[in-house]
Symmetry: C2
Subunit: 453 residues, 2 copies
């Protein structure tokens, strides 16, 4: 029995490397038998590709397929590349249909077909081919074909016998689904009802009809929201005809929820695509450079606009020193407003009342703006000894800039969402940059009005 | 049977409001019986407090406790305030021990004791008092006391009888835990083994010892990582003596994972504390103003530093126009670097190799920096017609600023994490502001070297 602690990875890996280099397959297998497949996968990420492949080949077949599933996509690709279609088919045989389909979908087109042909269990191969049809971001792409279902016309007695037969293929039984002759989903059976009712009772008198289900085309995020909201551990999936075609379990949804939250955070930080800390340099550049170029172009626009005030500014250099402060505050306020909206949309907790939302953000900015403008006014007067004209310009500009920034920060994600564009795009560099430009325009115009140039 | 679709909330709520205002309790109860408790909770958030309380009182007792649990903290507080200790105790009686403890922990101190005294089931009251001892961010604070356990000295026959008895108190059976006479956790039973083995077999010959467990003091986030990594749907919790004291199920962990990701995102956006889109104005101000004040002070420092160059700048006003661009780029790069590190730390996917990490971020900034500096150089020359001295200053400054920004963006969260401070604090306004200051210092000094003033 083992508690999760940080593996003392270094010593363990050193020992393992020695075994790998001396090609001591028996000792490796013995050592790995004591290790959880998720830990083996983590260890393999620390090895060189060659060492990882050697280790993988040395694993017990019971473990290797689970390890394959846990690996990072990059390393899995290398290992799959090194295996023959027949070997891959054997690995898949140990997995459930959804996991097997996920792995096959990563293979090059030609190899996909070869692997499917090598799968011995015809039913399993058919299930996988079925699953490959669905978009990976939908309920169909997430579901497994393995589930327990019984026909409504069976008696309790026949049902229990049927359950015993089916349960061999299903790892975890979350629910027993009831279908009609056309396989249409009707409801579910409570295990307790099954155990306490007369054996001759027909299932159709026993099943519960009040259950949640999703359609194969339902988006994965939506399935996640639903399972969270209703605290479901599994949900059945139906096709256009209402037929039961699969089920989704909570462990798959945990990954979806986590990835969605990570993606929003990365977008807010100006990183597109799902990159991780250990991805390659080129992938990382691709994920970040476009944002930086956008920000640079935004910066150019801001410089162009402020340079139209060049003559005036030569007389009022002091004003220029405050530009970074004003635009930074605009950026911060905009990001704060948009983050709350983006998260509200992602979690489904945002109410439909756009105007109320906007009013709230504006009030908030007004409240914060009064305090911050006062600090800025007295700061400019006392710290920098600026004239009260300059201090007034700064205070009013900050106030105006904050109000506009929260207006943009609130409306842009809501509007993007209405047009079905990911609202998380609006946060991060995009909002910061557009608020920079807006901030400069507001600031210089207020300065012109107050100081006069 | 119902598929999740967006409730056509408005019509439904209008109808409901009419029933509430005409005090038609019977119709309300009938309407609500068809509605899932999670949906009722959502509907209540849309009503006025008075309407919500009326609706709550009208609910069937079977539903009301589940609805209470699903409500937002603010509204729950109002409803609890309106209930007597005895009524609260009756609501709690329908819940599992962890949920009941969560609700009690939100009560004012005096009422807590009164409610506990009103709970009829002494065992249940004791469980709740036990649970209240634990910090809410630990395994102890997350776990429920309801679980299925059997003594290793029982036979399969006695065990099955014991299971039937215990199963009445436990909603979902994820595992059967095996303990010794001192209640120490030994392992778990596979249901299939129980069904296929002779009834006289002692449990101690049957149980599986290879299982994960956590300690009551393990942090909730760590429990989440573990359950995700090992795909667990439930995990047992032990105390200092190794005794089985509770279990944590995946649905509680889903919330932990989601909240953690949300918190990181909010910190990156400059919002502290767990606020939601529908929180009050004062809570929102408290969550945002401190960051904005910090950013403003950072802005002041940046202004102070640049004003030491005031005389020189009067000769080179053109340089000042580019300050917002340079600092914005520093901010963007810093946030990109830190977001990847913060996420890597949060997901446990960051390797221990700090120097390798740093080298990677620096290479990335170098790569991006060359491209962006070239754009900036030619932009300044061609678009703005600046001298090549200014264009060179800009290009070199951008390069240097980007390298420093990624250095800070990488090291600050790693160091904070080493000192056990939440690394997410480092992202957002903090990194942006410090990079603003650093960017200005670098820019003016490079300008002085190249242009000479």
């Amino acid at each position: 029995m083992y508690q999760t602690e940080k593996l003392s990875n270094k010593d363990f890996i050193t020992e393992l490397r020695i075994l790998i280099n001396s090609q001591d397959e028996a000792s490796i297998r013995l050592l790995m038998e004591e290790t959880h497949f998720a830990d083996i996968a983590e260890i393999m990420e620390e090895l060189t590709t060659q060492e990882a492949i050697y280790l993988f080949d040395a694993l017990d077949p019971d473990q290797s397929s689970e390890v394959l599933l846990e690996l990072d996509e990059d390393l899995r690709e290398k290992i799959l590349h090194h295996l023959t279609p027949k070997e891959i088919a054997e690995e898949l045989d140990e997995l459930s249909s959804d996991d097997a389909a996920d792995i096959i979908s990563e293979l090059p087109f030609a190899k996909k077909q070869e692997v499917i042909n090598e799968i011995e269990d015809a039913e399993f191969a058919k299930d996988i081919v079925d699953l490959l049809r669905y978009d990976e971001d939908t309920a169909g792409g997430l579901m497994a074909k393995e589930l327990i279902k019984v026909n409504q016309n069976l008696t309790v007695f026949a049902c229990v016998r049927e359950l015993r037969r089916q349960a061999q293929n299903v790892d975890k039984v979350h629910a027993i689904y009831v279908v009609d002759d056309q396989d249409k989903l009707l409801g579910r059976l409570a295990l307790s009802d099954l155990l306490t009712t007369s054996l001759r009772t027909p299932i159709k008198d026993l099943y519960l009809g009040d259950m949640q289900y999703v359609h194969v085309d339902t988006e994965d995020i939506e399935v996640g929201h639903m399972m969270q909201k209703y605290d479901l551990e599994a949900v059945p999936v139906v096709d256009d005809l209402g037929r039961l075609v699969g089920r989704i379990t909570i462990d798959d949804i945990v990954d979806v929820i986590r990835e969605e939250a990570d993606k929003d955070y990365q977008l807010a930080a100006g990183i597109t695509g799902d990159v991780e800390a250990d991805d390659g340099l080129l992938e990382m550049t691709k994920a970040r450079l476009p944002w930086l170029v956008t920000a640079l172009i935004g910066g150019f626009i801001a410089v162009s606009i402020s340079r139209t005030y060049e003559d005036a500014m030569e007389q009022h250099v002091k004003l220029l020193f405050f530009v970074p402060l004003i635009v930074a505050m605009a950026g911060n306020v905009g990001v704060q407003s948009s983050a709350i909206i983006v998260q509200g949309i992602a979690n489904g907790t945002l109410s439909d009342n756009t105007w109320g939302r906007l009013l709230k953000e504006l009030s908030l900015s007004f409240l914060n703006g009064i305090i911050l403008s006062a600090i800025l006014f007295f700061g400019a007067r006392l710290v920098f000894g600026d004239t009260s004209l300059i201090a007034t310009t700064l205070a009013i500009s900050l106030m105006a800039v904050m109000m506009f920034a929260s207006l943009i920060g609130t409306l842009v994600p809501i509007m993007l969402n209405k047009f079905d564009i990911d609202p998380a795009l609006a946060t991060g560099p995009f909002i910061t940059t557009s608020n920079d430009i807006l901030g400069i325009i507001i600031y210089f115009n207020i300065a012109r009005l107050i100081i006069g140039f």
